[in-house]
């Protein structure tokens, strides 16, 4: 009955070839927590499934010289959450990845998959935008890199060309005095898609913000890098005025829709609320105080 091919190549090159051969009907299988659901609902009808979990480069976390990390695109959230150095350096990115679905989903779902699914509400993406992550892509014409904020192009769409796959995600070494945080608003405490998600990465020197990046999700067709919010924070000691200015920038950046998960008004308001809260957590982390993550 089935005409679908399942392939589990051992190298990037083979995976790229398989995707190329599938001619637009090929889908990469990492954790599969989106793909299997989409196949079942009929939203995606692959002819070739390329399981990338036998490719070492895609399933390992590598520490880079200087303090950065390269995370294989198919590494599961559970494995990422257990990597102590990664958690210490990028608590916001890790908590964002660890908020994707249940513990069961965490056992499979990857940051690479979350990115490639290209939902505007993807939890990991705002945090990765804030952390300045770059995406390593391999394709028929070799390798290339794009900043994570340039990767999604529309709901469910991204910049991958035919035959291309995401290999890994590079987290640049954080400057001294840096940390990050991710917060999302969901109606329950777990198992929901973000109504708004926000990642904030800050560098502090003597209590003053010297660098900042803000990633904002679920309020526009793609996750946004909100540069005006970052600008409002830089140079401040996160006083109320600076936070309000940054929150206003987030609200101004929102181009949300009304849907089953939230209204335009609510999403817009919450983007500002979460900006303030996430910035405070990131700042406390950056100044060495331990702040519990959020669920």
């Amino acid at each position: 009955m089935s005409d679908i091919k399942y392939l589990a190549p051992g190298t990037i090159e083979e995976a790229v070839k398989a995707m190329q051969a599938a001619g637009g009907k090929g889908f990469v299988l990492a954790g599969g927590t989106d793909l299997l659901v989409q196949m079942r609902s009929g939203a995606r009808e692959p002819q070739t499934i390329v399981d990338v979990k036998k490719i070492p480069e895609m399933t390992t976390i590598e520490e880079l010289p200087g303090g950065g990390f390269r995370i294989g695109a198919a590494v599961s959230g559970a494995v990422i959450g257990e990597h102590k150095k990664l958690v210490a350096a990028f608590p916001g990115v890790v908590e964002a990845i660890n908020l994707i679905g249940s513990k069961q989903v965490q056992g499979r779902a990857s940051a690479g998959g979350n990115l490639c699914n290209s939902s505007p509400a993807a939890d990991s993406v705002p945090a990765m935008v804030a952390a300045g992550v770059t995406v390593q892509i391999a394709g028929p014409n070799g390798r290339r890199e794009v900043p994570v904020e340039k990767f999604p192009t529309a709901p469910g769409r991204n910049c991958l060309q035919p035959g291309e796959i995401v290999v890994s995600l590079t987290l640049p070494a954080p400057a001294a005095g840096s940390s990050d945080a991710y917060l999302r608003l969901i109606p329950r405490t777990e198992m929901d898609i973000a109504v708004v998600g926000i990642g904030v990465s800050l560098t502090l020197k003597d209590g003053t913000v010297t660098a900042a990046r803000v990633g904002l999700g679920a309020v526009a067709p793609t996750v946004l890098l909100v540069e005006d919010a970052a600008k409002a924070l830089v140079g401040s000691k996160l006083d109320d005025a600076a936070l309000e200015k940054a929150a206003a920038a987030c609200r101004a950046a929102c181009k949300p829709i009304n849907d089953k998960r939230g209204t335009i008004e609510y999403r817009t308001k919450i983007s500002g609320v979460l900006l303030k809260r996430a910035a405070k957590i990131a700042a406390q982390r950056a100044s060495g105080a331990t702040v519990g993550g959020t669920h």
Binding site: M1, S2, S41, L185, P187, R188, T189, E190, M191, D192, I193, V195, D259, K260, R261, G262, T263, E265, Y266, K269, I270, V273, H295
Partner: protein, 758 residues
């Protein structure tokens, strides 16, 4: 707390189906398979309202591997006849249109055709080959919209029942009912405080974790076997018999273990279709709904729109209530509007009450029972209003309820006079609880509400079979949803005076025990429990006869005490007591097998009352509500197996919490359900909740041998208002519309006039 001293009643032994259910061995609906079975799938309407102009199944039937195709033409037309379905009532004319649309489709997901094929993949391909021509009609979902003049009319034959003169034009209002007690106008004239508010609740789903599933095998001689997940296999038999014109003796329905029902599995969806497909194909046919199908085409409970006006004296004495309730029935008439009206004011002894109810059809699936059907909706409105009254009067909300509480002798607004009930005891237990006496934490607020459900009795049959070794099998016919086997075995053991582990409770198929009404209405431990007690008594009577034979005395001279036959007195003679095992061992010589039987229509179900307490805090910026502490107090009559009684209270409370906070059917402008999955139909998850403390108040029901009252439904009634009342006290904004989801509460907080800074 139980006044009488029992050996087994009130203990917490292991349930007999425990090991099967923790090992994966227990067989639920989708776990039954037969050699050579086909897979059945249903083609469903993509439109909320349309005329079916034609259906062409020829291409599907011609697909290799397809063995049968059915449409409405394969099911006989049914008469206009109302029959019971669980706690609700359904019209057979509508039931056949629910299992397969006839002239029109009336909701997205309405079945239009079905196929049976060699595999699921072929069945799905076949569905895609069925061509249905629709003529689209305008649709209406919301209950208030559906009541308006000019709303799209679902059924041309409906003239609002209960209205004089009889209307000449069709309407979506299928029925108007009115309960009247006293003189409402006079009551309000005496009132010193009058509160009036309008409320709405969203439609919700029972959201049992196990989807509907069945397997049907029709033999060439007309005999049919069905395995299915249901709350009532006798009802499945009854519906299939009528819908397919097969005699009941020809249909044997075996219930699987059931993965939750909450009222939603008291009706039929798949079974008649599977039987028909099996008849046409000559093969067994298995059908399992997807989760999406469960949401789109089974179960749901209505949404409601209500106004409540309550008048009271300044001392808190309520003098009048005027209530209007409109409920969505779904595609066909038959919402639980009656119970909604009756339960609305049942907690209160008030002289002047008028309750008017409307049963309204709209383009969504026909509603099914959901745990105390209708009561949570009307109770939300009334209990919210009572809370506003308490705030207005500056009274403690429990004291206000105590002042007006119904008790023995209270005449309800819908007719009956209460016998011994335990509302006052529940209110007092709540007031004296550690929870209520504890200080409210800073930033938190406390809400309370009361709730009522009738509980039902109805038909049950049971048998008690004594084995050769003196152990006993108790046989009845109600699927065990939450531990009822254990409760039935406990009552039989108590009655027999033997150890619990000498009694095994089993659930028989429709051919192996007499009729049993559904597992629903909180009736099993009460009514089937009574049948089990009677069957056990019947067996004991026979045991006494056998002992008398062994001793050569008159049976009247033998009593049954402590699990043994004993001489009734010295004048009978001196005999060593005979144990069950000793009598059983000699059964062959004394008259053959020893069994007991009973059948009854149980009367006197004890009404149930509960009071819930919640402490919440509200994130004022996001509208997120966190429940910090929760207590459910309930009069349970006698707790036969307290752990499972507590479980009913806890589970019911959490379903009510879900109803209050996040659960809702979300329809888009096209009339399509937008959240047909567990991702966006948000039932509570473990991390949303605190422990649910329980206080079991035991006011024995005088009409049951062990004082049992139904316990399963009451606990879903109070939580909606309990949460709303706590939220109102936490943030000063009263939510009169459910759910109190973060976007809605946030919008309400933003819209509320800002209070002066404190």
């Amino acid at each position: 707390m139980t006044a009488q001293v029992y050996k087994w009643i009130g203990t917490r032994p292991k349930r007999p189906d425990g090991a099967d259910k923790v090992t994966g061995r227990a067989r639920f609906g989708a776990d039954f398979n037969m050699p050579g079975q086909l897979i059945g799938r249903v083609l469903r309407s993509p439109h909320p309202h349309a005329v079916i102009k034609s259906i062409d199944t020829s291409a599907a039937a011609a697909l290799p591997g397809v063995r049968a195709v059915v449409t409405a033409a394969d099911f006989p037309e049914q008469e206009n006849l109302i029959v019971p379905a669980g706690e609700m009532q359904v019209n057979l004319r509508d039931v056949t249109r629910t299992i397969m649309a006839r002239e029109k489709v009336l909701y997205e997901g309405h079945p239009v055709a079905a196929v049976a094929a060699a595999s699921e993949a072929i069945a799905k391909q076949a569905l895609a080959l069925i061509k249905v021509e629709y003529a689209l009609l305008p649709h209406v979902i919301d209950v208030e919209e559906a009541m308006k003049d000019g709303a799209p009319i679902l059924h041309d034959h409906i003239r609002t029942d209960g209205v004089q003169p009889v209307p000449t034009k069709p309407s979506n209002i299928a029925k108007r009912i009115e309960n009247l007690k006293g003189d409402v106008a006079k009551g309000f004239a005496e009132a010193e405080v009058v509160i009036e508010r309008k409320y709405t609740t969203a439609p919700v789903h029972q959201a049992y974790i196990e989807p509907h599933a069945c397997l049907a095998s029709a033999a060439e001689d007309g005999q049919v076997s069905v395995w299915t997940t249901t709350q009532g296999h006798f009802q499945v038999r009854g519906f299939c018999s009528r819908l397919l014109q097969i005699e009941t003796s020809q249909i044997r329905v075996t219930p699987s273990e059931i993965g939750g029902g909450f009222g939603g599995k008291t009706v039929v969806y798949l079974e008649p279709v599977a039987i028909r497909l099996s008849q046409k194909s000559g093969k067994p046919v298995k059908m399992v709904m997807t989760r999406e199908e469960v949401f789109r085409a089974s179960g749901p409970a209505p949404g409601g729109a209500m106004t409540v006006k309550i008048g009271a004296k300044k001392d808190g004495r309520i003098v009048a209530a005027d209530i209007t309730i409109a409920l969505q029935a779904g595609a066909f008439p038959g919402s639980p509007i009656g119970p909604a009206c009756w339960c609305s004011m049942a907690c209160y002894d008030v002289d002047n009450i008028r309750v008017v109810g409307f049963d309204v059809v709209s383009n969504r699936p026909k509603v099914a029972a959901y745990r105390a059907p209708g009561a949570p909706i009307s109770s939300f409105a009334v209990e919210s209003t009572i809370d506003i009254l308490a705030q207005e009067l500056g009274m403690d909300p429990i004291d206000l309820r105590l002042k007006n509480a119904a008790m023995k002798g209270t005449k309800t607004h819908y007719g009956p006079v209460f016998d011994r009930i335990g509302l006052v005891e529940c209110l007092e237990a709540a007031k004296n609880s550690a929870h209520y006496k504890s200080p409210v934490k800073p930033g938190h607020a406390r809400g309370i509400a009361a709730g009522f459900w009738f509980n039902v009795g109805a038909d049950s049959s049971a048998a008690a079979h004594v084995g050769e070794d003196g152990t006993v099998t108790v046989i009845s016919g109600n699927p065990d949803i939450g531990g009822s086997r254990a409760s039935l075995a406990l009552m039989a053991a108590e009655e027999l005076g033997v150890d619990y582990d000498k009694v095994r409770a089993v659930i028989a198929d429709t051919h192996s025990i007499g009729f049993n009404f559904v597992t629903g209405g909180s009736r099993v431990t009460f009514a089937t429990g009574m049948a089990v007690v009677n069957a056990t008594k019947d067996a004991i009577k026979e045991l006494r006869v056998r002992a008398a034979k062994i001793w050569g005395v008159d049976p009247e001279g033998v009593v049954w005490e402590g699990g043994k036959a004993r001489p009734a007195g010295h004048n009978v003679g001196e005999f060593e007591p005979l144990t069950l095992a000793q009598i059983a061992a000699q059964a062959g010589k004394t008259g053959g097998p020893i069994n007991g039987h009973a059948q009854l229509n149980a009367q006197g179900a004890g009404p149930g009352f509960g009071v819930h307490i919640a402490d919440v805090r509200v994130d004022a910026e996001t509208g997120h509500v966190v429940i910090d502490r929760y207590t459910a107090v309930q009069d349970v009559g006698t707790a036969i197996h307290p752990s499972y009684v507590e479980g009913q209270l806890q589970g019911g409370a959490v379903q009510g919490i879900g109803w209050a906070l996040n659960e809702e059917y979300i329809y888009n402008a096209k009339g399509h359900l937008d959240n047909a999955g567990f991702l966006d139909y948000r039932i509570p998850v473990a991390s949303d909740l605190p422990m649910i403390e329980t206080i079991l108040v035991e006011v024995p029901n005088p009409h049951h041998p062990y004082g049992v009252r139904g316990v399963g439904e009451v606990p879903i009634v109070p939580p909606l208002a309990t949460i709303a009342n706590a939220v109102a006290r936490a943030c000063g904004t009263r939510m009169t519309s459910l759910p109190i989801s973060p976007p809605r509460l946030s919008a309400a907080l933003d819209a509320a006039p800002k209070l002066a800074a404190e």
